[in-house]
């Protein structure tokens, strides 16, 4: 079931990304280099909509969504972000646009993807063992595996032990409003 869902979702996203020329790297890089905001506006729209719905799903019990997504947290998040960011700006595309352009027949991006596979293997043999705890505790290195739940239960900083016990959507609504406001400002700036 989830295999079919994954195939359909991947296929539709592949078509949409190719047709709308969505590129996450372009969003940041084009803005820094040329002041082009097209992709940045796309990111703002997507973030505005998804933030609202993800937090809504997290607030309502009984929706069988695959949320929250857990991401390891620690100093390596920042360092890894910087390394990845440099890489994607040099290669001219993140993982998503790289694979999308392989579909378009680009040899450059194929090469970039092959070296991504190699890079993962290299890093898993070298850097990885220096910063990870045993994998089960990897997600809890700050004691805060879920960000939103952490905010809603602020003083205790531990998931599931909320003091305020706010539904995450209360944070999601102003947050998505901020994203739409940024979009609005970018749109206005262009006019």
């Amino acid at each position: 079931m989830s295999l079919i869902a994954a195939a359909i979702a991947g296929f539709i996203l592949g078509i949409l990304v190719q047709r709308s020329r969505f590129c996450m790297t372009g969003a940041i890089r084009d803005y820094i280099l040329f002041g082009i905001t097209r992709n940045l506006k796309m990111v703002c729209i997507i973030l505005g909509i998804t933030t609202f719905f993800y937090t809504l799903f997290l607030s309502i019990k009984g929706i069988p969504a695959h949320l929250p997504t857990m991401v390891p947290c620690g100093w390596f998040s920042l360092v890894g972000g910087i390394i990845f960011g440099i890489g994607m700006a040099i290669a001219g595309g993140c993982v998503t646009s790289t694979f999308n352009r392989i579909g378009e027949g680009s040899i450059n991006y194929l090469l970039s993807a092959i070296f991504m596979f190699i890079g993962i293997i290299i890093a898993s043999f070298t850097f990885w063992k220096y910063f990870t705890l045993p994998f089960g505790r990897y997600y809890e290195s700050f004691g805060v595996p879920y960000g939103l739940i952490w905010l809603a239960s602020f003083p205790k900083m531990k998931a599931g032990t909320a003091i305020f016990d706010l539904p995450p959507v209360l944070i999601g609504i102003p947050l998505s409003a901020i994203f739409f406001y940024i979009y609005y400002r970018l749109e206005k700036k262009e006019e």
Binding site: G10, S20, M42, G80, T96, E104, F115, I120
Partner: protein, 161 residues
Amino acid sequence: MVEKIKEPLDYKVGAVLISIVLVIMVIPYRGWAFASGMRWIDSRILSFIFGMDFINSHPYWKDVYFRSPEVAVALAFFVFGGFVAAYLSNEFGIKMDKSTLIDSVIGGLLMGIGIVFISTCNIGIFLNSLPQLNVGAILAAIGLIIGTYIGAKIYEKRMGL
């Protein structure tokens, strides 16, 4: 339908459609992040080369090896979707830019190393974990913006802009 695919999408329409897919797909599947798909494929390659004893001894690979292949299926169909869209709109063609081949290699390697650090790709950080205000994702997003800034400056120098 085919006629629709031939037309380039307006960015606003594209963004809304992508968001709808993202919101619907977290229910049966999961968020949009293809780095795990790459890890899954890598774990199969490594198990083929070094055998299962190696996979079991290395927690990073053991974790992903036993996951459902859905992550790799989504990645494969994503490439296929890109191919179909490019083919229908006559944009498909084998292209190569010799002057930037080295950039692709170095950039690819750096991205691969970064994936191990942040355990997902930038889409997973920005569009999937950041909307949930994940603390690790906030840190990684700050890093990504700094990194892209540095990378863009390097790119600017190289291209002589």
